[in-house]
């Protein structure tokens, strides 16, 4: 499913956060959105998935989602947003319960999603018993179980330590190689953008406008190899050069209130 | 003796009560501001205590319960009020002894009435024999009202458990419950019973004295006071009995037909009573509330034994309480109905 964003503008309490965002995302593409703190990247993601109403502009979905998609626009959250009173399987099943599936079909879908994310043996565990990385795997499994057309990832790895982040990046790439979807990936981490995205949208500081779109030609599957290091580092340098000054301004603003 | 008395009276006239008090023996009595406390009011106002060389202090309470506690705890030397289960439990531990009578239910003298609610009366509750199956409001568990119902049950041959008792804590609550038709009947002192009947909220269906005459109230003293200050107690009782005689002369007269009459002697005492009783009663209310008090302060001794036995049978008074040990019959002569040992 293709996506078209037309003139997305949003303001909070009279403060302009996003200003005229136009963007096309092709089916199956991974688009990362980066920018300095407060550039409105999470707001943009909220608008795309219908959780926030834009002050102006619209989001168009072009083409029908696959037939078995129960929830075409599906999020993965930074803080996982798991229900602490449900075990892993029940947390994943939450996304299915209101769709009138048979019990067997529900169980089968949950089992498949857990297997895909390597959670098979943790089905009965409670979230409090899991590490951060495992919790986010539950969040990812819950997103996959509804077979989304567009996956909206809001800083999905930001709450995790560096090693876990590496592991999950590999897992995400493996999953995306098998599950077809369109992906919008918001992050403040330039490595993640350089490793995972086909294109990187760089937003300017408030109000958020598209400052530059960086295309990365190397296929994502090849970027993990040692020989790819210079390429990835180059992309990272380029992105950093684009946002560095604004990031500093943003930081000062935060510090001085 | 006479010389001392004359000197004391002279001092009283000359210097006023404040100075003479020092020469007199101090003694305190805990009491209710009820008409039934009349003898101590009369003894005070007519100077009978002073004649005995006593400087009496009244300590007023608003219920029988704290009076017994005050005497048992030594906060008052003597007490005068109704005899309750609570009293017997304290007295049974040796804290105090009954020495003379106060009110009693005596045939011909209305004091406590059985009152039916309007609705229950219309439905046939017109006789004290009809208590079984009824819901009856009383003040407290172990109160004189509770005992009066127990005696009625024995006399009329029903079980007290056939009556549903509602302890409501105060006469005011009992009256309100009757007016609100929340109970079928209540026991009320004459004054309150007349008021309820006048309102049309209830009907007097009988009087306790018609069914079960008994010794309702008594004068009692702390055991320590009796042991250590016996002469003071004797003097107090002498003044008290003298006032009882005055009271009987004024309020307990009956004509040839048995009807109570109140003459000039009553009129003379009524202001004394009105001075102490609260809320201040009218002359008519004083007469209506004037219970029978033995003119010589004599107790119905056997009935006190019966009371203790009844409370014990109900589990309200400890088994080891011995009625004989809570009575000191030496202060008043010729007590009535003394059981033979």
């Amino acid at each position: 499913m293709d996506l078209r964003l037309e003139g997305i503008t949003h303001s909070y309490d009279g403060l302009l956060a996003l200003d005229g965002i136009d963007l096309e995302v092709r089916d199956g593409e991974t688009v990362a959105i980066i920018g300095p703190s407060g550039c409105g990247k999470s707001t943009l993601l909220g608008i795309v998935g219908g959780l926030l109403k834009p002050s102006a502009g619209r989001v168009l979905a072009i083409g029908a989602p696959r037939a078995d998609s129960l929830n075409p626009f599906t999020y993965v959250f930074q803080d996982f947003a798991l229900l602490p009173w449900r075990n892993v399987a029940a947390n994943v099943a939450l996304a299915l319960e209101h769709h009138g599936l048979s019990r067997a079909e529900r169980r089968e879908r949950v089992a498949a999603a857990l297997a895909l994310t390597g959670l098979g043996e943790f089905a009965a565990a409670l979230p409090k018993q899991l590490s951060g990385g495992m919790r986010q795997r539950v969040g990812i499994a819950r997103a996959l179980v509804v077979r989304p057309a567009v996956l909206l990832l809001d800083e999905p790895l930001s709450a995790l330590d560096a090693q876990t982040r590496e592991l999950l990046m590999e897992d995400l790439l493996a999953i995306w190689a098998r599950e077809r979807s369109t992906r919008l990936y918001v992050t403040h981490n330039l490595d993640e953008a350089a490793r995972l995205a086909d294109r990187v949208i760089v937003l300017s500081r408030r109000p958020g406008r598209i400052r530059e779109i960086v295309r990365i030609d190397m296929p994502v599957a090849e970027r993990g190899a040692p020989t790819a290091l210079p390429v990835v580092a180059g992309v990272r340098e380029k992105l950093w050069a684009l946002i560095r000054d604004e990031a500093r301004d943003a930081e000062r603003e935060v510090q001085h209130g | 003796m006479r010389i001392r008395l004359v000197a004391a009276l002279a001092a009283l006239v000359t210097f006023g009560p404040a100075l003479t008090a020092g020469a007199q023996e101090k003694v305190s009595i805990a009491a209710l501001r009820f008409v039934s406390s009349a003898p101590i009011f009369i003894a005070m106002e007519k100077g009978y205590f002073k004649e005995q060389g006593l400087d009496v202090e009244f300590k007023f309470f608003d219920a029988a319960q704290p009076i017994a506690v005050a005497v048992a705890a030594g906060n008052a030397d003597l007490g005068i009020t109704g005899l309750t289960g609570g009293f017997y439990n304290l007295a049974g531990k040796g804290a105090m002894k009954i020495i003379a009578s106060q009110s009693r239910e005596e045939p011909g003298y209305d004091f406590v009435a059985y009152v039916a609610s309007k609705k229950a009366y219309d439905a046939g509750f017109k006789d004290p024999g009809k208590f079984p199956g009824k819901t009856i409001g009383i003040t407290q568990v172990g109160s004189t009202f509770h005992y009066m119902l127990g005696m009625l049950a024995e006399k009329r041959g029903f079980k007290l458990t056939e009556v549903t008792l509602k302890p409501l804590q105060s006469i005011a609550n009992v009256t309100a419950a009757l007016k609100g038709e929340q109970v079928d009947g209540v026991l009320l002192p004459a004054n309150n019973a007349y008021a309820v009947e006048k309102d049309g909220a209830g009907k007097i269906i009988g009087w306790v004295h018609q069914e079960t005459p008994w010794q309702l109230g008594a004068l009692f003293a702390g055991t320590g006071v009796i042991e250590e200050r016996r002469p003071v107690v004797e003097k107090f009782v002498a003044a008290y009995v003298k006032a009882c005689a005055d009271y009987a002369d004024a309020f307990l007269q009956r004509d040839a037909a048995g009807k109570r009459t109140f003459g000039s002697k009553a009129d003379a005492l009524i202001p004394i009573i009105q001075k102490y009783v609260e809320p201040k009663p009218s002359a008519e209310q004083v007469k209506a509330s004037a219970s029978y008090i033995d003119p010589k302060g004599r107790l119905l001794v056997k009935n006190i034994h019966e009371q203790v036995a009844w409370y014990q049978a109900q589990g309200m008074v400890a088994r080891d309480v011995d009625a004989a040990k809570i009575l000191d019959l030496s202060f008043v002569k010729d007590h009535l109905d003394v059981p033979k040992r």
């Binding site: 999020y75 319960e97 209101h98 | 407290q140 302890p167």
Partner: protein
């Protein structure tokens, strides 16, 4: 390196650890001392009976069957009043937690009525409901109702908003969001409220039984007071304390079962 000196330990302490024996020992020591003082006659027997006399009074209540009658009557009133007050309180409290209009309408009323001691309303309830069971149950019910409302709606507020956003992002219908997110998420706060309302119910049952109750622990304590049976009175107080402990144990078990996920 010239002189080698071991570093002195300076951590530790300030970390309360459970001591199983100390509470029991304190309890036994206090009771023992009390019994000893009574036995030596240091305490006035008229106003403070010995622990043994209290135990004897309790034993007497068990053997004559009055214990069951009193405890049964009180438990009945507590159970009925608590269940009614809690059911109504949860309904209103959750409504106030979910709907802005319900909160705007309910909050001033609850704020105005909550601080009123329900004991002060007992005479009013007697006028409305009579001196029988309904006024007693109503007193307990009203006493339980308001804290439950407040516990329920503040517990709703404490449910993380991101969970609700998550549920919306998966297209859960509003009713499912209430039952699957809001209610379970509010459970810790609601159960904490239960602890408070259970003790309120215990306090109020004693007050309610002071008027027109033939049986019940409160009625028993009051009549023991009227009869100056101090040993019975303290036996009744002991019963109340045991009842409180039992209720607390039950609630603790419920909390452990329901809030296993915490």
């Amino acid at each position: 390196m010239a002189d080698a000196a071991p570093v002195t330990f300076r951590g530790g302490g300030f970390h309360p650890r459970p001591q199983r024996l100390v509470p029991v020992a304190v309890f036994v020591a206090v009771i023992g001392l009390w019994q000893f003082a009574s036995w030596r006659g240091w305490l006035p027997a008229l106003f403070l009976p010995s622990p043994w006399e209290i135990v004897t009074a309790l034993g007497g209540m068990i053997s004559d069957g009055s214990l069951g009658r009193h405890v049964g009557a009180s438990l009945m009133r507590i159970a009925l009043g608590w269940v009614l007050g809690t059911a109504a309180g949860l309904a209103i409290g959750l409504a106030m937690g979910i709907f802005s209009v319900a909160r705007a309408a309910g909050l001033p009323v609850v704020s105005a009525l909550f601080p009123i001691p329900k004991i002060a309303l007992l005479p009013l309830f007697i006028l409305w409901f009579g001196i029988g069971e309904p006024s007693k149950v109503a007193t307990i019910g009203f006493g339980v109702f308001f804290p439950t409302v407040i516990a329920a709606y503040t517990a709703c507020d404490s449910v993380p908003r991101n969970l609700i956003r998550m549920a919306q992002s998966f297209g859960l219908p509003p009713a499912a969001i209430v039952w699957k997110i809001l209610v379970p998420g509010a459970m810790p706060g609601i159960l904490a409220g239960f602890r408070i309302t259970a003790s309120i119910a215990l306090i109020l049952v004693v007050a309610a039984e002071m008027i027109g109750a033939q049986y019940g622990i409160g009625a028993f304590i009051l009549s023991a007071g009227n009869l100056n049976q101090i040993d019975h009175l303290l036996a009744g107080v002991t019963l109340l304390s045991l009842l409180g402990l039992a209720v607390s144990a039950v609630l603790g078990a419920v909390e452990r079962a329901v809030l296993r996920w915490r």
